[in-house]
Symmetry: C3
Subunit: 209 residues, 3 copies
């Protein structure tokens, strides 16, 4: 039950990043809501299509309702508030929260379908980052994978952490809470302090051609 | 039968928008034709993949032939004619026609597969707008969802209108003709008069950062 | 067996183009590796999803391992070497090699699933060009279909050549080797000599609006 509520919350959070990424002057509520919904359900839709199971929101349409509602609420909040300056940072933190939850939930879903660790890891990455990458492509921004953001690493490490913890502590909510917190806190620190990988693992030359 | 012909016509119309969106100096016929085909079949392909039914053009390859033929014809028409100035407006009107037909046809297909109204509504939106959004992404334009265009609204209202009409007037072509005309005329008026939503539903601040 | 090894080699080659296309200053190894993997498996994933068969890398995860390894190796090679100037040309030639192999392999896979020539041709195009188009979209470049590159034509002619050859010379590796070489050499010549289609099949006007 708490898992279901958290899933809906993650969908709402991702929908909000879609609207935050797309809102500009004279944009109307419906175009933005469609963007919000695509961002919220994009990653999970690719996952379910690849795994050849019924797509989650076709089975339970409440996910779309939640994504739409969140998109509409943030639209009006942006209309009446003055959070323009902080908008992109808000997007990044909300995105971090959504990524953290979606990664772990997709890993668990894939394992429960009988797949092994590597496939579950791949599905976790696809689900966690798919919607955000689609949002960035559709709103005309460089996606977070190719910016200087430390984006894939917190997710990857957190999923591996989860895989190890759930092996040693099965049937407990502890691994999930630990891994979700790990991904969100690690990514938030990266945003806040503008963290980078050790220089061995970063390209230092200018390849911009 | 008339339904089948209209389906092929909508595919042709969408293929034309793909070529209109991508044609530039020194572009060759085959690259443009591939763009045309992707635009024409993109939305329906996503729909069928999500619904887990055989993709429509795998079942009936004539859709691809029609899309290819339309792409090639518009290519030569653009070569010999002087419609450059009006090209983007042509794209918008053709797109409106394709969206109108694809929305209603996808709604009907999804209902006939046994799904309820909300899923059919989502599939109608995906089918109607998927190909056009892919065209805009692949040709490097801001997609119509995030421009000032009133794009999602005519489609959404038209689909709801269709859902209501077909409930009260089943087994009649009237609901489909009414809804397709509604979407096309509403969207055309939006293009021609540069219509916008009521200001309550539009973001008036400058969020461009 | 040789077919399997060549399949893995093509995946590696495409992964390398993903990293070559995305690498910039301060980009970290994991973000680039994710891009490399998406480029390597993107086309085949769309193909298998449309054909409704188990996605190839879900069945055999070694494809992902190979793509990851190739991405990591090219990352370090770029760090220590001075091939910046030639980077984009390298990308084009590697891409040509990957396209050549993927087209023929996808054609064969689709035919073996019982589909006819036109569907196999479409799947060959999707598999051969899907990953590269995704790479270009995700790295913010105009994709090769809409640039002046002669991109779709070598692939299309090579696939048709393969279809004809395998009809007359079944159960022989000759058609595959001939067609793969044809696509790669034709495309390489197009890159090297900046070849264009006959002017009848090229748009000579300036449609850039």
């Amino acid at each position: 039950m708490i898992e279901y509520i958290m899933g809906q919350a993650a969908v709402a959070v991702f929908a909000i990043t879609g609207v935050l990424g797309a809102v500009r002057k004279d944009r109307d509520i419906l175009g933005l809501a469609v963007l919000g919904v695509i961002t919220a359900i994009g990653g999970g839709t690719i996952r379910d299509t690849i795994l050849n199971v019924t797509v989650f929101w076709v089975q339970d349409f409440k996910y779309i309702i939640v994504a739409l509602t969140a998109s509409v609420l943030i639209f009006f909040l942006l209309k009446i508030s003055r959070i323009n300056q902080a908008r992109y940072r808000m997007l990044l933190y909300f995105d971090a929260l959504g990524v953290a939850y979606f990664c772990i939930q997709a890993f668990e879903k894939t394992i429960n379908l009988g797949y092994k660790f590597p496939v579950a890891l791949a599905m976790a990455m696809i689900t966690g980052m798919g919607g955000g990458v689609m949002r960035d492509v559709l709103t005309g921004r460089p996606n977070l994978l190719i910016t200087k953001e430390l984006y894939a690493s917190p997710a990857l490490l957190g999923i591996i952490l989860y895989g190890v913890l759930r092996f040693f502590i099965p049937d407990s909510p502890l691994p999930a809470f630990t891994a979700i917190s790990f991904i969100f806190v690690f990514r938030s620190l990266a945003i806040f302090f503008n963290l980078q990988m050790p220089s061995l693992l970063v390209n230092k030359r200018d390849h911009d051609s």
